[in-house]
Amino acid sequence: MTAINTGPRAWSASGSPLAVNLTGVSKDFGHVHAVRNVDLKLRSGEIVAILGPNGAGKTSTIDIILGLSQPTAGTVSVFGMHPRQAITRGLVSAVMQTGGLLRDLTVRETVEYTASLYAQRQPVGEVLSSAGITEIADRRVGKCSGGEQQRLRFALALLCNPELLVLDEPTSGMDVEGRRSFWSAIRKDAEQGRTVLFATHYLEEADAYADRIVLLRHGSVVADGTAAEIKAMAAGRTVRATLPGASEAMLSGIPGADSVEIRGDTVLVQSKDSDAVARYLLTQTAAKDLEVTARGIEDAFLALTADTPAITGAI
């Protein structure tokens, strides 16, 4: 299942607990399995993207990390403690997709209200200015644009100076410019050693801003690695040929094959050495109509997250 695994790291080198540690976590809603047996370990200071199409289980996973919902099975800890304990200590905060703001409060009042709930907090004025909303501080939240509201949510999340910042599709509904400035703010912020976990369905966003990408499909982790590793996965080519009567056993000996799939009379082979595969198929088997195509990272993402898995077997 897991294509690339960075391997479980229960403790980081400094001996401090993992920022996030999910072990065998599943979440069912009736008959719907939103999250299936997910292992996810985040070390302090990592910037990790959870990437997947809508309905892949991103939000359900994040809700579990934030203690908003309880897993049906498995264990979750955040900085070695229960998520709720981590939140009451101001170790974790989150920026959610939409909503979550009172329209009849002003921007400043919203920040003051949230700040008052924490035992330790950043000065309100400082947070307003670092989120770039000092000018609109006295405006009612209901009169703020979507981008301004998102900056306010970001400000709220920074109030407790969290060790872990969780962002659920933070830029959905933003224009390109808004997205860019939002991410540059996050990036600048993360340089101070904050752990950042964000969910997105934009591949470019994960690629550009994450140190590590976790690909989710149907609630399961299908790949977990650096952007470069995921790209390397996609660097191979697909060799496609017509081969009636092909069997798994017959094709298991193909040199350099990462994976093999048989669809009726068609054989699909993923490989980083497509020449060797093509040579083998044409010389050692009755394959014909051979076709070699390159895959981009978009294709890898689609292939890994599509409803019908195009890649089977280990890569």
Partner: protein, 267 residues
């Protein structure tokens, strides 16, 4: 779910949780400010009861007719203060429906604020508006010069009305967790209007038909209305009034707690 063993790393040890589950006066002040920004709430819970008092409490020589240790005008003033106070506290409690609809309750669950501290703040906010409502009707009474009773009774009845309206803060919370935001505020005006009639706040229950009286005595405002008039009338407390208030407090409080638990488990 089992929880991984807790290990405290040196850099996390200075992180403290909030005292009192996050309850604090800054948040309470902002809650009250929010409530006062809602013009419709202010008009219905403060201006309307005062208007009703001026309409019903001052005419027909009510100030000449005795009622217990005071006059009928004082009796009507207490009824309408109760009407205003229960509107105010119900509105205050039902604000949770707006917060649920706007996703604010979910946002608060990402902060140290505990559900109990949140509810305590909601109830205190509702009681502040309830106090304004009672105060407005009593000031109108004083200015009009018609209600007559001793200073001690002004204070005793006003305080009883205010504390009694706590029952309807629980009612508001229950409705706020039960109903969607777009309906709840309109419904409250209607429901409380009916309950006020049934409870005898506008017309004494003794003037209803006998069968209707029997039903009216079970409604949530009847017991409370009787109790808050007791200091003025000096006629003693009937145990059924107390049972009425306690039973409805259990129903509203239990209902609110039940719905709240459902709400937080929902996501």
């Amino acid at each position: 779910m089992s929880i991984a063993p807790s290990t405290t790393a040196p850099d996390l040890s200075d992180r403290r949780s909030s005292p009192l589950g996050g309850f604090n006066l800054t948040a309470l002040k902002l809650e009250i400010r929010r409530l006062t920004r809602n013009r419709r709430t202010i008009i219905i819970s403060i201006v309307l009861p005062v208007f009703f008092f001026l309409l019903f409490g001052l005419n027909r020589n009510y100030d000449k007719l005795p009622a217990g240790h005071g006059n009928i005008s004082a009796f009507v003033m207490i009824s309408l203060a109760l009407y205003g106070a229960v509107l105010a506290t119900t509105f205050g409690g039902a604000m949770v429906s707006i917060e649920r609809a706007q996703g604010w309750s979910r946002q608060l669950r990402l902060t140290p604020l505990s559900p109990v501290a949140y509810i305590v703040m909601k109830i205190m906010t509702a009681l502040v508006l309830g106090a304004c409502s009672v105060g407005a009707v009593y000031i109108a009474g004083d200015v009009s010069g018609k209600p007559s009773m001793s200073v001690g009774l002004w204070i005793a009845t006003g305080f009883s009305v205010w504390i009694g309206s706590l029952l309807f803060a629980a009612f508001g919370l229950f409705l706020g967790y039960l109903l969607p935001a777009e309906n709840v505020m309109q419904l409250i005006g209607l429901i409380l209007g009916l309950l006020s009639f049934a409870g005898g706040l506008f017309i004494p229950v003794s003037q209803f038909a006998v069968g209707v009286q029997d039903v009216a005595k079970w409604t949530p405002l009847y017991g409370l209305n009787q109790l808050v008039h007791t200091p003025l009338l000096g006629n003693g407390v009937d145990w059924t009034w107390v049972v009425n208030v306690i039973a409805w407090l259990i129903i509203f409080g239990g209902g609110a707690a039940w719905r709240m638990r459902q709400d937080t488990a929902r996501v």
